[in-house]
Symmetry: C2
């Protein structure tokens, strides 16, 4: 008997028929002797519907008071889901009880619409499990120290599920979603993309942060921090497939670098076209210049990703960084009106038509020549690299957006990702 946490996304909960299928699948796991905690998302479309209503009524400026009410409203989507799923489980002859975030309670800070989980009290849940019940817990939400309802941001149900699995020391956390695992890259771009049987949580972290939409990045951080074995698998397999087969399907995100782990140098290719690049040309190269440029940007609450400063030339240098494309206009305005003049920059230029392509792999730690192999592959396709950024287990390049698919395909091939490295 193991303690298992299942998480089901909005698509899996999208209709009463689908909820019934989720109930049948969970019931199968119960009958196999497992203690089950289930964390569903809101029915697909529901969160958007609720926030759409709120947006129609909101004042022009979104204050902390407005955000508190947005959480009040959005949290109901998951509350409906847990009630419906508990009833569907009861209809399957399985004892089940549902809880909201505050009922568990899942304690968070007070950052409405993007709260962070601080602690989870599992006493009530444990008592129900001991009494033979399935416990269905609303994802995406918690309660702050003043009894206000909070939410964890988009995709927050993943984080809820992993945090609950961590708090309860669950044997595994299974994230059921509309894809059947983590791929070497997006199969819509590279048809030869291959599902990974295993990926290290560090690689998953890079893949998630680089634009792979499978898991909320914070859920992966949580899984790594608390060593929760995490599996991403499809909720579209028939509910009655063999449980042993199901338990091995999808992709395991492992915190252990065990021998079975696929030993490819590069595990996957991630990409992201949500960024834009800005450059201050001819900035005087003196101490403190980076802070002088980026301080005001951070103060304006603009997130910065890649930063590049070239060596100086005649006492001047070019300083580039990327921001989210939604912040591009605001960033350019800020640089042109304030930061540029203040730093005596020669000129401010920008480009929103860029993309970032990254190779990710734990093997890069111990292999040399990986980055240069990447650059050669791109060069062979005539793709100019505009910026380069590296970390221990990834190398990212910023290139012209129009070369994105070509670059991803070329890198996928160059690193032999279409070949199954090890047997499942």
């Amino acid at each position: 008997m193991a303690l298992i946490v299942h998480k089901y996304g909005g698509t899996s909960m999208g209709s009463t028929d689908r909820i019934r299928n989720v109930a049948k699948r969970v019931a199968k796991w119960v009958r196999a002797g497992h203690q089950m905690v289930v964390v569903p998302s809101a029915m697909s479309g529901e969160t958007n519907r609720l926030l759409g209503l709120a947006k129609e009524l909101s004042p022009a400026s979104v204050t902390a008071e407005v955000n508190r009410e947005l959480d009040m409203i959005a949290a109901t989507g998951e509350q409906v889901s847990v009630g419906l799923l508990a009833i569907a489980l009861q209809a399957e002859g399985v004892q089940a009880v549902s809880y909201t975030g505050w009922q568990v309670p899942v304690s968070t800070d007070s950052s409405h619409t993007k709260a962070r989980i601080e602690s989870i009290d599992d006493k009530r849940v444990r008592a129900d499990l001991a009494a033979g019940k399935v416990v269905v817990i609303a994802g995406f939400q918690g309660i702050d120290a003043n009894d206000n309802i909070t939410t964890l941001g988009r995709g927050g149900s993943d984080t809820s599920a992993v945090a609950i699995a961590a708090a309860m020391k669950a044997d595994e956390c299974l994230i059921y979603t509309d894809v059947d695992g983590v791929y070497t890259t997006d199969p819509r771009i590279v048809p030869e993309a291959r599902r990974l049987h295993t990926i290290s949580f560090e690689e998953m972290l890079e893949m998630a942060s680089l634009g792979s939409k499978i898991l909320q990045i914070r859920s992966v951080e949580f899984a790594g921090k608390y060593k929760v074995p995490l599996r991403v698998l499809s909720s579209f397999t028939p509910w009655d497939i063999d449980i042993n087969e199901e338990a091995k399907s999808g992709t395991l995100i492992s915190f252990e670098e065990d021998e079975n782990m696929e030993q490819a140098v590069v595990s996957g290719i991630a990409f992201n076209r949500d960024e834009a690049k800005v450059t201050l040309l001819g900035v005087p190269d003196k101490p403190g210049i980076a802070f002088q440029i980026l301080g005001p940007v951070a103060e304006a609450n603009i997130d910065i990703d890649v930063i590049i400063q070239n060596v100086s030339h005649d006492g001047k240098t070019d300083f580039s960084f990327t921001v989210h494309r939604n912040d591009y206009a605001r960033t350019m305005e800020l640089l042109q009106s304030t930061v540029g003049p203040a730093t005596n920059a020669g000129k401010v230029v920008g480009d929103a038509k860029i993309c970032k392509v990254s190779i990710v792999g734990i093997g890069m730690r111990s292999h040399v020549g990986v980055a240069s192999k990447m650059f050669r592959a791109l060069s062979e396709e005539g793709i100019n690299i505009q910026m380069i950024s590296t970390s221990e287990i990834k190398t990212s390049v910023v290139i012209d957006e129009k070369y994105m698919e070509l670059a991803v395909r070329a890198l996928h091939k160059a690193f032999d990702l279409d070949q199954d490295a090890v047997a499942a």
Copy 2:
């Protein structure tokens, strides 16, 4: 400065435009210097939508566990409403904060789907009011001693509003709805029906329990018990009508029999066609026979309304009672299979095509001949009376359903209800 509770029904909250109108109306009351607590219902249609989803998934038998989940699901309708209304108020430049039932908290017993309020802690609400905020509280819901979400049953938001007004000793509780007050009878049946400026809570109790759908009966009981001045008024007047005019509109349900109260002997005509009549013919007239008949009915959880036992004849009597029409088939089955044989009844007969028509008036206490005037009016129309039931302030008759409208019109006229008894 007064402390005022507003309650808005589902129709008044039916769209973002209507919610914006509610916010503008409440803002007007705030600007007039009042402390405001607002209790909205779920957006119209929402509770039915949610319970419809639940019904599709429910097991055949509705257990306490299912009811707990139904409350979990249904309570979200009001939670969305309070968040939306708080945001709309903020957009009007009014400070506002919303609370669910559990956040107040509104403590109830554990009877899921029909819980009763036990106590309300007004500390948090008072602090917000003192800080100049409008407090928006979710109606229809509460929390039991084990932190489960409970709901108060259909129309429960009325009860929430009155209970909150009682707990906070509010100066008045205004129930905004889709009718503009309490009428002498249903204007769809009697076009001459007149809106009452005032009605005693006892009369309102009879009107409500007899099928007038304006207020949940428990809210009227609460208002009477805690002496909460209650006003029913229209939410369809323009939000910017003069506040003094608005404050005097609708119908005041008063717990004081003051001099301004309309002194008509009969205040209104109520009717109800949701009942059915069953009769055991030729039952041996012996002690305990009523319990022998009605005990099994009560045990089957069937509510009984009017009960008639005629004087006996040759040691036998006829025993009749009415039940809700939805329970008619089940009651007939029970009498024919079990109760009839057990009591040696001669025969079981029933009739679902009946209706109950009642005259209600506090003046009946001190006036004789009111009932006979009623019977004469019906007799003049050739309407046969099948059963009669009386209380201190009402007289009800059961008649053939097809005469209902005729009876209501005749009684409305006989008691001069189309004449305005006193000036407003």
